[in-house]
Structure formats: C-alpha cells, structure tokens
Subunit: 300 residues, 6 copies
C-alpha cells in the first residue's frame, strides 16, 4: 500500500516557460528508459522477488522513489507549457517566424489532449507501454537491466541538460543526474553482493552450464570483414566468468543442414511442387499417460 505527500522530492521550477523543451522532456517521462519504465520495472521486480530481505527492500525503496520522479517531471512539463502559443492560429503564427518555429516544435497533443500538461508518452508522442519493463525473477539478469536503465536514463538526461539554458530546469536535472549516478552505483553494488552471497554467478542464469555445448561457448565468430575484432582482449583471455578461455574463429563455417521448411499442410495452400512428399503427423504426446492407455482400451 502507498501513501503520498503533495510536496515534490526536489524543486521543479523553470525560470521561464519553454514549450519546445517541454516536448523533448517527454522522453524522460514516457520513453523506453523514462521514469515510468523504472517505476514499473522496479515495482514488478519487487512484487516478483522470491526472497524476503535486503534485496527486495532495496528494490521497493527505489521503486517508490521513482514514482516521485514521474511526478517531478510531469510538474515541470506543465510549468514549461505555461503561456505557450498553443491556441494561436497558423495565420498569426505565420506572421512571426519565432512563434511559428515554436509551434512547429511543440507537441500537439500536450495542448489538444492534455490541455497543457504532460503525457504518458515519449518525445515522439509514442505512448509508454508495458513491454519496456524487465522483471524476470532472476535478480542478476534483472539488476543488469537496472544498470542499463539507469545508464541510458542518465545519458538521455545529460543530453537534455545540454539542450536548455534555464537555471531552474538545470537545477532539477542536476538532482536527477545525481540520483542516476547513485542508482548505477547501487545496482552495481547489489550485483557484487548477489555474487558475494553465493546467490548468483557471472553468467545468468547460473544453470545448464554443464549441459550446453561447451565447445561453442568460447570463440568469437568472425562474420564481418573488419580486421580489428581479433585485436581485442576478448579474442584471447580468460573470460570474465573465470572459467572459459576466450578465442577467435577467423573463418567460421555453418554447422547445420540447409535451412528448409518441411512439406506443407495442403489445406493451408502454400505453393508447393510436392517434392518433399507429405507431412508427417505432429507428436501430440499420446504414447503414455492416461489418454494413451484409454485409447488402447477403447475401440475406435
């Protein structure tokens, strides 16, 4: 259960409104690595975490912080849109190229749909969606996704920081940048601790390493003709997992048969010359279990 205070985590006060920048800032709200993503990603990870204790509590602390970041950005967007020439006609705008250019750079839906507020969408107006988040239950894999989200998020924030001169906007972004720095450190530290606690290893998941085809877990396949990929350390070193010896396959050959689909079901009308014969039946699993026995026992 959640509680809310009306006060923002940090000030979101632009010195002056700037509707073009309000458009760009949507990326940090509803983009693939915006605050809606980290909010929902961490919430679902926390709810899906299978161990009570420090990891789950860490996830929920940060998740709850992130909802407040969406709030800060939504407030900032509304303030940046104050007095925007949203309802100026094209005719009036046409008379002043600065106004016209501003109108061209605005997000039409911030005016028409949201009445001068923020949208749950990115800087191209594409809505945030649930396929952006990662919550697999495997904490190593998920914390790596979190490092990624905070890295891409800080990168985008840094780019946006350079796109404004407004001291109020910059002040808020300095806070966001700092939190992203901290969160990168947090998730990196948590990965180290997962490994130190013996819960996960270097390869995610820490499973099936004995069953996989080990002979294919070592070499870089050289399939593009650039000359330098063999000069990286990765072509000849002990792997980060401490187990595999990394190598280089300079001229990899296909190991499989021809890529060729089977004969088609005639009732699906694929174009076909009959050369592969007719399809065999699918394996429906009837050879054992209750139904297999029943089928034997009951006359057709």
């Amino acid at each position: 259960m959640f509680r809310h205070t009306d006060y923002l985590q940090f000030d979101a006060k632009p010195e002056k409104p700037d509707p073009v920048y309000a458009h760009k800032l949507q990326e940090l709200i509803g983009g693939a690595f915006g605050e809606m993503t980290v909010t929902m990603q961490y919430l679902f990870q926390g709810w899906n975490c299978r161990m009570e204790g420090k990891y789950k509590d860490l996830i929920m602390d940060i998740a709850t912080e992130e909802i407040g970041h969406v709030e800060m950005l939504a407030t900032m967007v509304a303030r940046l849109l104050e007095g925007a020439p949203a309802t100026e006609s094209s005719k009036a705008a046409g008379g002043d190229p600065v106004v016209a250019a501003v109108m061209g750079g605005m997000d039409p839906q911030q005016a028409i749909v949201a009445g001068g507020g923020a949208l749950p969408a990115d800087s191209n107006g594409y809505p945030w969606n649930g396929r952006y988040i990662v919550a697999s239950g495997n904490l190593l894999a998920d914390f790596r996704a979190n490092v990624t989200a905070e890295s891409q998020g800080r990168l985008q924030t840094a780019r946006l920081y350079n796109m404004t001169d407004d001291p109020g906007v910059k002040a808020m972004l300095k806070f966001n940048l700092a939190r992203d720095t901290h969160h990168q450190n947090l998730w990196l530290a948590a990965i180290e601790e997962l490994q130190a606690d013996g819960l996960e290893s270097v390869v995610a998941p820490d499973a099936l390493l004995d069953e996989e085809h080990a002979e294919h877990a070592t070499d870089l396949w050289h399939l593009s003709d650039g000359e330098f990929s063999s000069t990286g350390g990765w072509a000849n070193r002990l792997a980060p997992d401490g187990v595999h010896q990394m190598g280089f396959n300079a001229d990899p050959q296909p190991l499989g048969d021809k890529a060729s689909p089977p004969p088609p079901d005639p009732k699906l009308y694929a174009t076909y010359d009959g050369a592969k014969g007719t399809p065999q039946n699918a394996q429906l699993g009837t050879e054992k279990g209750v139904m297999g026995k029943l089928k034997d026992a009951i006359p057709d």
Copy 2:
C-alpha cells in the same frame, strides 16, 4: 553489404513436430529479448559506432551472427509445426481431448497467417517492434544493454530448454545457451576493455559528474517500510565507481515545493477557479539574435 549461405549455423532438427512448443518458441524470435532484438540492436549499434576499429568490428561480427540465429529459430518453428492439426475442425478436435488441448495451445496466426511458419512476434502473438532496441552511441551504456539482452535471452532459453523433451530441440538450444554464455562474457570483457582503454568510466556517461548535485549522489532513500535495505553493503561502502561513499537516508523528506501546475490557458478549457491568476507568456527566445534585433528595428 551482406551475403548469405543456405546452410544453418547449427542444426535445427526436432525429432518430432510439436506445435504447442512452436508457439512458445516464438518468444526467442520476436520477444523483447529475442533474436530479432539482438540482430537489430547490434546492427544499429555498429552503424552508429563513432570509432573505427576493434569495438565496431566486434559489434558487426556478433550482429551478423545473430541474423543467422533468427534463421535457425524460424526453421525450427516450421519443422515443429509439421503435421499440426491446424485445419482440424473444432468438432473433430472435441472428440479427442489431446488434439483439442494441442489446438488450444497453438498459435492461431502461425496457421492462418503464416501457413505453418514462424511469425515476427512473441509467444503472446505481439509483434516485434523497434522500441525494443538500444543504440545510443555511448558504448558503455550500450554494452550494458547487450549484457542485459544476453542475460535475459539466456534465461528465457534456459526456461524453454526445460519445457521440451525433444533431443533435437534440446541440441539446438544447447548451442544457443553456449553462444549466450559466450556473448555475456564478450560484452563484459568489452566493458572492462573500454574502461582500461580510458574511453569510459563506471558511471555512464562519464560526464557532468562535477555539475550534478553531488550531495544527492550518495544516499539510498528509505521510502518503503521493509527493514532490511539498510543491511546491504550498498548502505555503507565505497561505491563501485571508486568515488562516492554510499550511505542511507532513513527518513527522507521532500525537498521541493508543492506539485502544482500553473494557471491554464483559458482557451484550453481546463476547469479553473482563477485563484492562480493568468498565465505568463512562454519564453520564446526573442531577446537576442537576429529576430530580437529585427523586432526592435521594425515598428509594430
């Protein structure tokens, strides 16, 4: 420019067809972390890489490999669908619960749309889309995304490995698991090398660290009432970046003003009591530059 051979990178030969499994395997083709994602992610990263040399060549080697993985999986799906009861009527299916259950577990579009072939979609039938990929130009941030993709991808492959008994399917997945193991090692090694080469540091991007609000880059804000987040090393250690001393803020207070949007544009018809007055004009940047001068020079 690309070239193609008809032979598969590795065999994709199921012992017997299994249409229900063909449905699940779509996740590895068109899911958020399927082979279409890594193909396109690495291609766009390579095309967007700003340095000639080992990093770019590494990216293009793996990108080119991944197109072939989509090919392997698409071929496997078509073979698993051989002889599937796709065109059995519901009536016939109703007479045999095994057939009926198989039909319930199949992907309708694999039959109706693809005629017994693979789809560029995931295991819930949702199409692959371009927002899944990450290609920012910052190699540290992007290689972290690559570690994530290979970790989630190997995790999903491992789960799917447990969902089949077919030795032919398992053989191919053992190859895929091994490549995912290698690729995790590769991207982790490349991150180490980026840092060793002095191109990037621990925090991504390696920028604005002096400008951000340093006092907010250190503490975990305790906003969820679980008791254990302060017991992790992250609450009291030197940060992974080697710079920040990590701490714990046990009772964080809001630092900002009230979350409150400005007075609305009356022509946008927000419900409003007038208490905040009327909006100020947006800052359109006219105070300097050519237009500012022109406006001064020309009578209204």
Copy 3:
C-alpha cells in the same frame, strides 16, 4: 513524493493455485480498464489539476489507493501461478489431457518472461500503454472518464468473479467490487458538486455554446433503418442540459458539397487527369507581422 508499506491493502490469498485463472486476471492489471489505467489516469489528472483544494486532493487520494490495487493483483497472480506446470514438456502434457488443457490456457509469457509472475499486460498478452489514460484538465470531461473506467472495471471484475470458485480469490474480488462501487459513487458525486459549485455545466466543455451551429444541436439523424429510435424519450424531450429541445430528423439529407480532394501536388505522383487544374498555394500566414513587413522591405 510517495511512501510504501509492504502490507497489502487487502488480502490476496487464493486457497489453491490456478494458472489458467492467473492468465485471465491479467485483464484487471494491464487491460484498458485495469488498475494500471486508473493508477496512471488519476495520477496524471491530479498533477494536471489547475485548482488546489478538494478536487485535486480527492483525485490524489484515489490515485494513491490504485497503485496498491496493482500490487494486490500482481501478488495474487504470482500466488495463482505457484506450482503451475509451466516447465512440463509437451510430451508429458500430452499424456494427461487435464494438464494439457491447463497448459493451453496459460499465459506463456508469465512463465518464460516473468518467471511465474504478473505482466504489465492484459489477458491477451497485449501490453498496457499510455494511450489508455485520460487527463485533459477539464474535470467534468475527466470525471466522466473516471465513472466510465470504474464502470467497465467493475463489470470486468464481476465477470471474473463468476469465473472462479476459489474462496480466497472471491474474497479479494469482493473488496475490489466494493471499491469500484464506491468509486463510481465518488466520481458521480464529484460531478454533481462541480456543477453545484458552478465550475462546470452539463455539456463539456461549457464553452462555445453560443457559437456552435445551434440548429444542429437538437435532432437525432435517422440514418439506420431500425424503426424504434424515434420511440425513445430522446426524440422528443427537454435535453439533460435543460436548454435544448431534443427532436428527430426522420430523413436527413447531406448538407455539404461532394467529398472531393483538391488537385494534387505533381511531385507527389497521385494518379491524376488534370481535370481540377493545379493546386493553389497554401496559406503560410505571411501577410501580416514581422515577416510580411520584411518581405515588403527587402528586394527579392
């Protein structure tokens, strides 16, 4: 800013796991009228509300409640998935039609992607997205959207209530149904109060009523040949807004000219016989303002 407690708003304890039902329950998490929608709809409405006071505080109270509803449902889904035959092979499943049918009715991504947890998606696996929410700034229009969301939400919850016998699931849904009942009453009461406070009227928005073509604001146009639409009160009564006299146009005729696009830009290669001549130039607004004056003043 938000805070979180680990305790659920209400118990989410199924008596027994039921993975097929876990699939259906996704509709209440990530469907168009699921809890993610009301969470985000109310949050954005609150952040976009232009009046401090009772309306905004009401919105934020309910918004904060709804985040906790997503939490309850996500927890319920994970519990319903306990011990699901997600990693049974098709072969084993084929031997037991009950298991097979359960596997056919499960959501593949709850296992492959979420590792046995909830997804931010609906019961057909389609991800929640930001175009589902309504936050226009006009409180009458938005509260109507809220009544709609709570009505469709309670309807779907009631349907799902009938799809289970599990007393634990039913207990939680009885809570959800009750909250939806209350929220319908709340938003209906808030609409009455908006009107009583003189902030809004019956037609949304309360604007341009004098400018619109009043003669077209009264009659139902009879365009489908069913015989009974004229027998409703709406064909002859005072309108709910207390102003318009509602009527019936039994044989409406088109009032406009032919639907016909203008001559095309030849460089866009529409198929064209030239009969409409060549296109006139667009109106670019240069006849007044700074640029118009400049153009006059400066030789070409």
Copy 4:
C-alpha cells in the same frame, strides 16, 4: 449493410489551405477520441446489443452518422494540404523561415505516405487502434463511455476551434461542436431512460451488490496528504446510488498480509534462498468430473 452518397454531411471547405493545421486536425480523425473511435465504438456496440428496439436503433443511427464525420474530416485535411510546401527542399525552406517553420509543423507522412491526404492516425502520427473502443454489452457502462467520448471529443474540437482563424474551418467545427453537444445530451438521456425502464441502476453492473464487501463500499481512503478531500460532499452524504452512506477514512491501514510471492519453480531460475520451501502443485481441477474418475479407475 451500408449505402453511401458522395455528398458530405456538412461542408468541409477551408477558405485557404493550412498544412500546419492539417497536422493538428489528425487528432479528430485518428486520436483516442477521434471520429474513428466513435464510429467503431458505436458500430460494435450496436452489433453486440442484446435487445432489439429503441436502444439498438439509437446506437446504429449515431454510428452511421459518425462514419460520415470521418469522411468530412478526411476531406478537410486534404483541402488544407493543397499546395503545401511538402516537396520543397530543406535548402529552399531554409531561405524563408516562414516556409521552414511551416515545414517543421507539418506531418511528414501526410506527404510521403498519403500523398497529401489524411492518415488514420492522431496528431502525433500514432495510428488509431482497436483498443480505443468500448463495447461491453452492458449498456449503462457503455453509454457512460459514450458520454465520455463525446465530452473529450467536444473538448478537443473546442481547443482546435481556437487554433484557426479560417472561417471555412470554423464553420465545419461549429457543426461538429453542435453534434457533440447533441450526442452528449442523447447518451445522458439514454442513461436516464435505461434507469427509468428498470434495465439498469446507478452502479454498473447492477449485480453482486449483496455479495461484495459492503463495509468497503462507503469510505474514501485518505492516502495523500492534501487537507481538503474531506471537505467535499462525497465525504459525508447519501451516495448517488441512493443506497450507500458516503464517509471518510482519515487514516486507512492495510488490511492484508505482506505482499509476497510464493516459492518459485526451480526450473524457471528465479534467484532464491530456499527460505519459503518448495512450491505446492497448482490446482488443476481433477478432483471431480470425468477425468478424476478415470484417474482413479486406471492404474498408473
């Protein structure tokens, strides 16, 4: 079955073309509350209406009207795009900031994809999609959705009305505004009539009111710290449904247990310390019915 006349319901004649406005007008065609939504929403409601007679006929009359509204807007967009500088090069545009600004404000796909015509998309270029419509079969819930659609639609139309000076565009929008006024009245009147006819009540659906947890159907939970939500009538009045006494819970406490998922399936590789033991099996419903009996009767 449908029939069509080439004549428009109302004139769609701009005085002059205006390509920037043509971009914005897309919201009324393919936005979440554009004419494609009401067309499809009413058609599917009519086809899904379970009672012959006045309600169904009303729905189909308005549905058929709305197809013609898409036609009017698509025609208007094409005419507004006449002579647009779509095929001007950036270089030429750069020489004239008015032209440049117009090009920046245009929808690139209206030129590149539609050759100067309308798109089935909104003002941010996002395509209309089927998740926008509501057709549940419950007429109270659906008519509320219709009131919402007409309210948001009229609000957006009113905003767009203020964004143009063109008398021809304004004339058409005056017609649209009037129809939206009428349609709001129609659906509100139809809701009153549904209730007067005894088909529906105030809470949708009119079901399970005796089974839901009545003690939770009355109080507003105060979870955000604004001070004024208790001052609304909704905190102490008879509810709009005439049954519940509305109240205020000033300090709500969680009623449920800890949000905690069950032990995970080991084959799905969630990170886990084993503290919760191993998962119980899912309830697959085998204890009664044909299969339960069969399982008892047949040896394993």
Copy 5:
C-alpha cells in the same frame, strides 16, 4: 454520408455455437488483412482519389460493401459464442477435459471485455491499427495493394474454411470467398484499365525513370548461395515493363565507401577517440532567401 439497413449482406448463421472457432475468426475482422483493413483502406483511398469518375466510384462501391462484411463477421462471432463456457470456473473445467480444452482455446477478452461479442482485434488478440492501410493517392500502387489485400484475405478465409465443419459457417465463407475472387478480378481489371487509359504504366510511379541510375535497374544481385536463382526467366528476359532487359550479376561487389558515421556531437556523449575530428556544421539553408539577406544586413 452513409446509411444503414439492419439486414445483413448475407446470412451469418452457424448451425451450432463454437467458441474456439469464434477466436480464430477474429483474424478476418481485425487482422492485417481482415475486413476492417479493406474497409478503411478503400474509404481512405476513395476520399484521397484525385479524379472524379469511374475509379473513384468503383473504390467507394467496394468500400461501402466492406463495412457490411465487418458487420457479418461480428454477428457471426457473437452467435458462435452463444452458450460458451466463459464463466465456468477452472475447477469445473478441470473435471471435463473437453470443456477445459475449449476454454484454453477461447479468447479471454471476447468474454471479459466484450461480454460475448467480437473484438476489433486479430486471432492473437492484437488490436487492428491504422498502419495496416495503404492510401497513397497513386492508383497503380494502391490497386496493387488492393490485389494483395484480397489475395491474402481470400487465402486466410480459405484456411479458416477448412477449420470448421459447420454448414452455416461454411455457407457464409463461400460467399466471402466468392466476393474475394470477384474483388481480385476487379482490381486486376482496374489496373489493366489504368494502363489502357494511359494514366499509369508498369512501374509505379511512372516517374523519374530517366533520372534513376539505369545501369542498376536491370540485374539481379546474387547475394545468397542458392544455385538456382539464375535459372528463372527473370535472369534473362525483357522485363514486364517492356523496357528493361533483365540480367544476372553473379558476383556483385559493393559500390560504396565504408559504412561509417561522422564524428559525433560531443554534447551527446557518444564514445569517441577523436580520430575523425570534429563535426562540421549542418546545412541550415541560410545562404539564400530572406534570412540570408537579413543576416548580411544586420550586425551580429
């Protein structure tokens, strides 16, 4: 403007309900080549057609027919869902594997969202969207899209025809198949007539043929190692356009420079070693036109 009659274009009467088939039939309503696509594709083509006369009237005749096809299919789906075990609990279903299998094969949203009706979505529950349609204004290109839509549509209908034994369903599909046959003939005939009327040629659009690099308009580039692509007539014949002599390039070589992006903007933080220098400024078109002159005239 449109009018509607309640009577269906053709009977849509299944002999018996079949909820599993109702799920599959969604493909013909809301799939990429379902009836919603042809409805909207032809409507937008008609509204965007730049010539009055036979082509436009043909398009509008068929467009209007297709709306009625959506109606037939939506009615059929509702009838196929009659009495479906949508509200059976999983427990009851578990006792009867036939019921269980049916429930596994049903579309959950047809029950939960539509209350037993059709959805504007495909057979995987993905919503119809506006990016499916093609309406470019070029009639040759668009009529080819129409031939495609009717071909894929008839193919899917034929596949679905084989998936049912119900004589009522088959009767309706025999009508749909016949209309698709006719529509393929119609659009093929219209293409012939466009060419006979001298409005279009074989290559779409009939433009820039003199400017394009003619030497690259003739040869198949052999980039995949299959041996037989040179044995098709296309490797050595006069092209269908009657102009080009088709040939075969057995060993194509890249004609371009290295794929390499320029030096990056340092404020966007791409990883960069500086080897390419610093970026040149973009061409903003200031060298001619009003602004170029102004800039010269006014001191900085």
Copy 6:
C-alpha cells in the same frame, strides 16, 4: 548464415548535413514500406518457402540485398545529422528563426535516444513492427505483396527525391529508385513464371473455386451513389482470371437476416430484457471420439 562486408552497396554521401531531411528519411528505414519491411518480409518468405529451387533462391538473393539497404540509409541518416543543432538551447534557437525552424523539424529521438543516429522507426517516430510483413507460404499472394511493397517503396522514395537538392543524397536515391524499378519487374516476372509453371493461377489461392458461391463472384455491388462505376470495363468483360463474366448489380439488396446477436450469458451482465430467451449451449464436439464414448460409459 550471413556474412558482412563493411563496404556499402552504394555510396551514401550527402554533400552537406541536413537534419530536417534526416527526419523524413526515417520513412524509408522503419516505415510500413521501408527497407526493414522488405528485409524481414523476404527473409521470412524465404525461410517459409516450401520448394527448393529458383523461387526460394530468388527470394533469398533479394532479401540479402535489402539488409544492405537498411545499412545505406542508416549511414546516410547519421551523416545528414552531422553538426545538427540538437543541443542548442531553445533560447539560442529562438534568436535565429532558421535554427528554430530546423529544430522544430528534427526528430527529437534521433538526438536524445540515438545520439545522432538512425532509429528503427518511421518519419513520425513510430517504431517498425512485425505486423508489417507478409509471408504466407502462398507465393502468388506473397509476390503480389512484394510488388506492392516495391511500388509503395518506390513511390515514397520518389517523393523524398523531390524534397532535397543535395546531389549526394539524390545520387543514392537514384540507385534506390533503380533497384525498386528492377524489383517491381522481378516480382511481376516471377508471378508470370509461377503461372507459366502451373504452380498458381490468377485467383489466390487457386482453391475452393468450385465450392464458393459462384453466383456472387461476378457482380460489382453498386452501394455508393457515384454514377460512373458502371462505365468501367470491369462492369462488363471477361474477368482477368479468364473464367468469370464480370457484371454490375445496380441495386443490390441484403441477402441475409437481421444483424442480431443471440441471448447473452447472464453472468456476463449484458443489458437484456429476456426477449430472446436463454442461450443454448455451445457445441463442444463431444458427440464422437474418445470422450463421447467415455462420457457414455461412466456414470456422472
């Protein structure tokens, strides 16, 4: 399996950067008919082709070529973005209307997300998705889709060719136009050859022509009141398939019963007056096969 060379198929060298044009060019990368579509469409068609030999090899040759076209366009976009004023603040931009207009016409995500590179999205920022491709297994239907894709693709390329003056851009597009010309000819020739080889006929699929309702496969239904659709050859000629005699139905009447859904399941709470009685049970296919026999044999 694929291999890659770093050299481009053709030069992609703009004379000068042009960030506004870089935005528009996205349509040819990630639009519905962009190079990502033809790449994936042809790859999936090739992998799904049921005949070894010339058709499959043709498809794979062109598929492999198209990956290289994505590469050319992605490189071109990055070069067009060189030195773009992406990180200019709004304030600075406001001082120069040319810069401001350029910024308004740029794609914000090319800077914020891709750091000055191309996106897998179209010119409105909407991501490429898998529903764009067609790979049905029926080569006639699919080659028609290919003709369509190359026609729409060449049309869009021709439009974009007119939107730039840059000789380097135009040079590359002249290559693309020529390849599109050739590919249109190729697919048209392949269709002729399919028919000459006796593999397919004119109607796709070549099936069920004897079963469909032949009396409805001949006439154009005149449902829109334009007067000229009967004047086309299609109203009175032998059909392109050489079999049907095409005609004109000047006043088509509905052939079906009323569009009316059946009585609803009461537990789904549709609004209902009971007039249609209660629903019959669905046909679950139990009357024959194993389960039917079992049900008879075992007491309830």
